[in-house]
């Protein structure tokens, strides 16, 4: 295999793992605080739609009823995605923290709501089968060429890595990767993180220490909403899709959950897990079928790889993943 091919596959892996990583970290905040979040998928999808719709609207000429903006439309899209995702996150929070409902049911409801409403509203607004209009220019996030990318391109080995793999992604990719050390620091080095982890393990301990369990959990769910919004915005503004397509999250929210379990709820491991899933998807996309001489691995198998891995992980073949002790349990002061 040629070196440049490897670089291309890895580059594609990074791009494919970005939405997984953002969603996975969203889940990490939520679940570390004791709120299971099966609604990552729905929040991401709603975010993707909001981003696509807002960016399209912002870039539409005033004469056609748009805002007529010429720059920053993509950022408007991000804001819309985050806002919509936060609203859904708060609904989940209200159901599972304040009303102490079943967190799985609330999450599933959000997934269904997002899947249905995005298409319905999209069709009503844009009349193109639930899609948003194709986005171009500043309506999307383009690649950022890091300094000296062109200059070092020809340096052997390191040059292509810098130019082809590290440079040339859009801003959301870099934000996603920067979120990993940030999360790690926040969780393990700050008061906020200590309390967040504690509330997912033993909310009673947090309550008796004079800290509000409810506030702590809402904060975590809020952060999860923001990150899911970013993940959604990436799907419609940062990929080659260039706009919102029906059901474009395609189970990524669930794979992110699998990655979260695989990573045992740790931020750095989450990065690794998401890159692995991204890599499998990249390989599946690149090689339609692999000829092993004796037999040919069919394309369907390659495309199913991430999902097969998910099943293997969830079946518990990879070590023992112990979730936060109070996960999924509404907090009720005992009598």
């Amino acid at each position: 295999m040629e070196f440049s091919t490897i670089i291309q596959i890895l580059d594609s892996a990074v791009r494919l793992s970005t939405p997984l990583l953002l969603a996975c970290l969203a889940g990490l905040y939520s679940e570390r605080s004791g709120i299971f979040d099966i609604g990552l998928e729905g929040k991401m999808l709603a975010g993707a739609f909001a981003a696509g719709a807002m960016s399209a609207y912002a870039g539409m000429p005033v004469t056609e009823g748009g805002l007529g903006m010429t720059w920053g439309m993509a950022w408007m899209g991000v804001l819309a995605a985050v806002a919509v995702s936060i609203v859904l996150a708060m609904i989940h929070g209200f159901a599972s923290i304040t009303l102490r409902g079943n967190q799985l049911i609330s999450g599933v409801a959000i997934n269904f709501f997002a899947a249905g409403s995005t298409v319905l509203i999209g069709q009503h607004w844009f009349r193109s089968g639930g899609q948003t209009p194709p986005l171009s220019g500043a309506q999307r996030f383009g690649p950022i060429n890091l300094p000296f990318a062109d200059a070092v391109k020809d340096v052997p080995f390191l040059g292509p890595i810098y130019e082809g793999l590290i440079s040339g992604h859009n801003i959301l990719v870099y934000i996603a990767i920067a979120t990993v050390p940030l999360t790690s620091w926040l969780l393990f080095r700050t008061r906020f993180g200590l309390r967040l982890r504690a509330v997912g393990e033993n909310p009673g301990a947090v309550d008796t220490a004079g800290i509000s369990v409810v506030r702590q959990r809402y904060a975590a769910v809020l952060i999860a909403g923001i990150l899911c919004g970013l993940a959604g915005a990436y799907l419609s503004l940062g990929t080659s899709a260039a706009g919102f397509v029906k059901d474009m999250s395609a189970g990524k929210g669930f794979i992110a959950l699998a990655a979260l379990i695989f990573a045992k709820w740790r931020p750095r491991a989450a990065l690794g897990a998401c890159l692995l899933f991204g890599l499998l998807e990249a390989i599946g996309n690149r090689y339609q079928s692999i000829d092993l001489g004796a037999f040919v691995v069919p394309v369907q198998f390659m495309q199913a790889l991430p999902y097969i891995l998910t099943v293997v992980i969830l079946a518990g073949f990879i070590g023992k993943a112990i979730p936060p002790a109070a996960g999924g349990e509404p907090y009720v002061k005992e009598r």
Binding site: G210, K333, R335
Partner: protein, 526 residues
């Protein structure tokens, strides 16, 4: 009601000091249940004040009000003479109140330091807080015999050490008033003694301590004053030196109770159950039982003492057919019993082995089911309960349950009530009635009085002794040494999966048993 106003145990000689805690007319109800009725209580500064009462008497509710966990419906709370409205735990902590909960409020995967600082951090970053806490903990360890490794993961510590972490949490927050809720329930006698030394130390530093317990012996040993609660009311407050354990017991129950178990000398017969070289290795490869052998004779109560988790539970589970043994044999009247995982509790019952499990919620009862169902479970296939066409004879079951309810004084007397709606004592009576009334030759009893109030303890003990007087064999597992000493005709002590020693109750005492429980053989070392 006597109200204690003296500033007892207060070293200062200045003018009268305001009491540390003063409750005036505190009431609290949960729906129709009045948990606290018009409570007045005064706790002198620098004293160890005990609160005793049966389960459900309202002790924990009262302390939860003091700690801001619940808000009182009415009444006034004064801390150090200042009227304080304790709206949440935060206010309680700020007023200098610290609480050691019965079920520890610790985050198990955290280190000791992280647990100590949580909620009392100095700033948004952890590092300075952790450094400061490390220093403070060092001083506290020095001052009060509260040594704990600050970097240990709390979940890896023994319960005794976890409790120290709870105390350290309170002291780190500069608590002047320390409330301990049933602190010795999970401790070995040696750990409990250590705790009491710590409390004495704290008292000598001028701290006020409120000790909630149902163990009268502890109250008599360490407190200066004691308040008695019954059915949500404060019935008396007395000086410990002027009362006795039996007087307190009567005050708690509201009638005269006997703490001693009255029993005649045993009429020991032949060996009924014999255990030989029993071994058990669990799924993680931990050896839970190592070559345990014992004989259980007709007409005797064999007590098995030991700190929880030293193999007693495994012994019970194997004999009762719940789990399989790794090797060894058990025979009943000379016939061996199946110890593989093909065995079941039903097969044991056919052989005449009844079982009152240690954990009545998990194994003894189906909590969301009604009493009549619970009182026949395991025996529901008996001929007297089978009706026409192979269906259950509900009428017979109901009649049988009503008899048990009457004989065992189970309250409320409604056979349709869910098991979860009974108090611990009455739940236990349902289980005991079911097992004893089926007339077993061998009764295995695990923790018969855990979470059971004094009145019911007296009753349950009587039933066990009565069964033994009928010539049946009883294997009693209990972590309560008092219970073991009071009931047993013979005592074995288990430690780390082995029988550490055997004693006759008249030849031994709690100290000796306590050492055996800790793996030390006093005879061997002397």
């Amino acid at each position: 009601m006597t109200v204690e106003t003296q500033t007892q145990g207060q070293p200062s000689t200045t003018a009268p000091v305001a009491p540390a805690i003063e409750l005036i007319g505190v009431s609290k109800s949960f729906g129709p249940v009045q948990a606290n009725k018009d409570i007045d209580m005064t706790v002198a500064k620098g004293a160890i004040h005990g609160i005793v009462g049966e389960n459900g008497a309202g002790k924990s509710t009262l302390m939860s009000i003091l700690y801001g966990f619940y808000k009182a419906d009415a009444g006034e709370i004064k801390i150090n003479g200042v009227t304080t409205e304790i709206t949440d735990s935060h206010v309680a902590i700020a007023s200098g109140i610290g609480m050691v909960h019965q079920h520890f409020m610790l985050v198990k995967p955290f280190t000791v330091l992280e647990n100590v600082i949580m909620g009392a951090e100095d700033g948004p970053l952890l590092r300075p807080s952790l450094a400061k806490a490390r220093k403070v903990l060092e001083n506290l360890a020095h001052e009060y015999e509260l040594d704990v490794d600050p970097d240990a993961i709390v979940g890896d510590l023994s319960v005794g050490f976890q409790q120290r972490v709870e105390i350290l949490k309170a002291l780190y927050r500069e608590a002047d008033i320390l409330i301990l809720d049933e602190p010795t329930g999970v401790l070995t006698p040696a750990e409990a003694d250590h705790l009491f030394r710590i409390l004495e130390n704290l008292k000598s530093q001028g701290k006020t301590i409120v000790l909630i317990t149902h163990k009268l012996r502890e109250i008599m040993a360490v407190t200066d004053t004691v308040s008695v609660m019954r059915r949500g009311k404060m019935t008396a407050t007395v000086k410990t030196s002027e009362t006795s354990a039996s007087e307190l017991a009567d005050l708690m129950v509201g009638r005269h109770v006997t703490l001693e178990v009255e029993k005649n000398p045993p009429n020991v017969g032949e060996t009924i159950l014999e255990v030989k070289n029993l071994c058990k290795t669990d799924g993680q490869g931990v050896k839970k039982l190592k070559d345990v052998s014992l004989q259980l004779k007709a007409g005797e109560i064999l007590g098995v003492a030991g700190v929880a988790g030293n193999g007693q539970s495994d012994l019970l589970e194997i004999i009762s057919g719940i789990s399989a043994a790794t090797s060894g044999e058990v025979s009943m009247r000379g016939e061996s019993i199946d110890l593989t995982d093909k065995a079941s509790a039903a097969m044991r019952r056919e052989r005449g082995i009844g079982h009152v499990p240690e954990d009545r919620h998990a194994l003894g009862l189906v909590l969301p089911f009604q009493t009549w169902e619970n009182s026949v479970f395991g025996y529901h296939n008996n001929t007297e309960f089978s009706g026409k066409y192979g269906l259950a004879n509900q009428k017979a079951m109901m009649e049988d349950t009503k008899k048990k309810i009457e004989k065992y004084d189970i309250r409320p007397t409604n056979p349709h009530l869910l098991a979860s709606n009974y108090s611990g004592g009455n739940q236990q009576k349902i289980v005991i009635a079911r097992e004893i009334e089926n007339n077993p030759d061998v009764l295995l009893v695990g923790q018969p009085t855990r979470g059971v109030d004094i009145g019911a303890i007296e009753f349950i003990h009587k039933q066990i002794v009565e069964l033994r007087d009928q010539g049946k064999a009883v294997l009693l597992v209990s972590v309560e040494l008092e219970e073991i000493l009071a009931l047993s005709d013979r005592i074995i002590v288990m430690f780390d999966g082995v029988i550490q020693g055997e004693r006759m109750p008249k030849d031994t005492n709690e100290q000796e048993l306590g050492m055996l429980m800790a793996g030390i053989d006093p005879e061997a070392s002397s």
